[in-house]
């Protein structure tokens, strides 16, 4: 069972794109820490980069990898293996590779320059985002047979989570500004893993405490153990649900 993922990881870790991705993250991280004497500011900058780059690369790389492995998966499926085990192997292969890339590219610099709890949460948020967007990419890839279409959808999805969702949220908060929305905003944040990761790390940076009442509400909820549990659970849902959906579709899919 574990052999197949091992081969896939072996293959992907030699992939030029993954190497470039690792190097890019590493250069950005060390660059930020080198140029910015204020550690918090460097972390903030890194957070912004991570929230944009990690979902994008995870989505696109995973989608492309899936389409490129299509024939190989066919061969694997003609072996006495269940479809789920092949899909899960492919998933864990790509996911682990993305985690390794992120862990090296961002984790190492964090360990060197900012080995505190904030750094840890930033690392954790990025790892979770890698997993989530890898899952979502698998869902997209099994849904669409066409490679160009699949990549297109992946890009749109990234655009949606990175930008459009927040725009809609902004309008929504504007139009509902007469109501106390502090509690409801947790729900909003849970519906977008990028937002959730961002708020999670921001609160660790103590920005929340500076924001008066609302910040205090957030910090009281998301900053405590229950909040961490909530965040992790929601993230887990974001990892598992798309993957299970992908499984359901893949099991019935004609190769």
């Amino acid at each position: 069972m574990l052999r197949l993922p091992r081969y896939i990881i072996y293959d992907i870790l030699r992939n030029k794109i993954i190497l470039a991705y690792t190097l890019l993250l590493f250069l950005i991280s060390t660059g930020l820490f080198q140029l910015e004497e204020n550690n918090d500011k460097a972390l903030l900058g890194l957070l912004s980069v991570v929230l944009i780059v990690v979902p994008l690369v995870s989505l696109i790389f995973t989608t492309i990898h899936y389409y490129n492995s299509y024939e190989f998966m066919e061969l694997l499926l003609s072996q006495p293996q269940s479809r789920w085990s092949i899909l899960l192997s492919e998933y864990s292969g790509v996911a682990v590779s993305l985690l390794v890339a992120y862990g090296t590219g961002v984790g190492l610099p964090l360990l060197i320059y900012s080995p505190g709890p904030t750094g840890f949460y930033l690392l954790l948020a990025g790892l979770l985002l890698s997993l989530i967007f890898c899952s979502l990419a698998f869902l997209i890839a099994v849904l669409s047979r066409d490679k160009a279409k699949g990549i297109g959808i992946a890009l749109l999805l990234w655009f949606y989570f990175a930008l459009i969702y927040d725009g809609v949220l902004l309008l929504l908060l504007f139009s509902l500004s007469d109501y106390p929305l502090e509690k409801l905003t947790f729900l909003f944040s849970a519906l977008n893993p990028i937002d959730l990761g961002r708020i999670f790390v921001m609160l660790k940076m103590d920005i929340g405490a500076l924001m008066g009442y609302t910040g205090a509400v957030y910090k009281n909820f998301l900053g405590k153990e229950t909040g961490i549990l909530f965040t992790c659970l929601v993230n887990l849902v974001w990892v598992i649900v798309p993957l299970l959906l992908a499984k359901k579709i893949f099991n019935k899919k004609d190769m």
Binding site: N38, D40, K41, L44, L47, S48, L51, I52, A162, L163, D166, G167, L169, L170, L173, F174, S177, L181, E182, L184, T185, F188, S189, D195, R198, I199, M202, I207, G208, A209, L210, M211, G212, Y213, T214, G215, A216, Y218
Partner: protein, 409 residues
């Protein structure tokens, strides 16, 4: 200090000052009698031990000293010492457990209609009000340590409370866990220097209707709401440190209806709002440092003719905010760490103006739930667009000559 010593030297000749020693085994009546019998300029000296006394009233100029660890205990019911004299000294005592009254301002040490007092090197613990001055002049309160019980704003009095007084010197005291650390109402021409006021339920320092005062080199930290200066004129605030005043309605410094004042070379660090200004006019803010605050300066629309120059804004979530559209205040030659302009002629000021107002700051002011969008990609895009071409934030809120490097005197 020298003035007081000089005064005592001038005490009538022939009345050589007498020193009376007091001991803890004496009962309350006997102590009261010692005070009754003492003559102007005499010294009464408490020796080491605990004295349970209450409502000791001094009406003549006396020197009251503590020797060793001597404790005057108000049993949680009474006031301990009241001074109403034209001169005097209280030194080296520990006053504790004075009483609480919801009707009167019970204090451990009360000064009424007095002048030229020196209150120094005392400890005042677990009291309602600690030092309470009314109608006092030329008094010095120095080197005292005051710590309250920090129960609630209602059940706690102020540590140093002055009403209708003038020419006070309040310096080098450490005050904590009271309602307000230092409270001044109708107090003029006074100097507050080198105090450390922290962990108050409300304000570290509170000015009401107090003009022509100076406060310098104080440290205010972790107070419920910071420092408040209200309804006052001609106040000089210099070289103070405002730190760590965090919370839903906390400020480093709250200015309300004050005018013609100076705020110079102070440091504001890690406050929810470093300065909140409301109805202030003609205030000069120069050479202050705003670092790691939620908001640097929140200027309400009711402020005018204030000028900000040579201040450093570093690593605040939002440097400034306002709720108005008309800008009647001047910003120039400040350093903004977010400024991204250039300086071609190398004169140290940037060649393009800086718009310090943040769109997101504006939004969040109106709708705190927007906090959920802090540092989001979308917000950062909007922010950049807004900074380049202000459309939603007032265009005239601008520093035309921002500094390229932090200001150093």
């Amino acid at each position: 200090m020298s003035r007081l010593i000089f005064f005592f030297w001038l005490l009538p000749a022939g009345l050589a000052a007498k020193v009376t020693d007091l001991y803890p085994h004496e009962d309350s009546t006997s102590i009261h009698n010692h005070f009754k019998e003492a003559r102007d300029g005499d010294t009464l000296r408490f020796n080491e031990g605990v004295y349970y006394i209450h409502s000791l009233v001094v009406t003549k100029p006396l020197v009251i000293l503590g020797r060793g660890n001597c404790i005057l205990d108000g049993s949680g019911k009474y006031e301990i010492l009241t001074i109403s004299a034209r001169a005097g000294t209280v030194q080296g005592l520990t006053l504790r457990n004075s009483g609480y009254s919801s009707m009167n301002d019970f204090a451990a040490l009360k000064v009424i209609d007095a002048a030229n007092l020196l209150i120094t090197d005392n400890s005042i613990l677990d009291s309602y009000f600690a030092i309470h001055l009314s109608n006092a002049s030329r008094c010095t309160i120095r080197n005292n340590t005051i710590e309250g019980k920090a129960i609630s704003e209602q059940l706690n009095g102020n540590a140093i409370h002055a009403w209708k007084s003038h020419h006070l010197i309040i310096e080098n005291n450490t005050v904590s866990r009271h309602r307000d650390g230092i409270y001044l109402e109708f107090v003029t021409h006074s100097r507050i220097t080198g105090n450390h006021s922290h962990l108050q339920m409300r304000y570290g320092l509170h000015f009401m209707f107090s003009n022509d005062d100076v406060y310098t080199r104080n440290i205010f930290e972790e107070n419920g709401a910071g420092v408040a200066v209200m309804y006052s004129k001609r106040v000089t605030m210099k070289e103070n440190l405002f730190r760590n005043n965090w919370g839903p309605s906390a400020y480093g410094l709250l200015l309300k209806d004050i005018s013609d004042s100076e705020i110079t070379q102070n440091r504001f660090e890690e406050n929810t709002r470093a300065i909140h200004m409301e109805g202030t006019s003609r205030i000069q803010l120069r050479q202050n440092l705003f670092k790691d605050n939620g908001w640097g300066v929140a200027i309400q629309a009711s402020c005018n003719e204030n000028s900000f120059s040579n201040n450093n804004f570093i690593n605040n979530s939002f440097d400034v905010s306002t709720n108005g559209q008309v800008i009647l205040n001047v910003f120039e030659h400040n350093y903004w760490d977010e400024y991204e302009g250039y300086d071609l002629n190398k004169d140290g000021t940037g060649d393009i103006p800086y718009h310090p107002l943040s769109l997101f700051g504006l939004l969040i002011e109106q709708n705190p739930s927007m906090l959920i969008l802090v540092k989001s990609f979308m917000m950062q895009l909007f922010e950049r667009m807004e900074k380049a071409i202000p459309s939603l934030t007032p265009e005239h809120f601008v520093d035309l000559q921002p500094l390229m490097k932090p200001f150093t005197p």
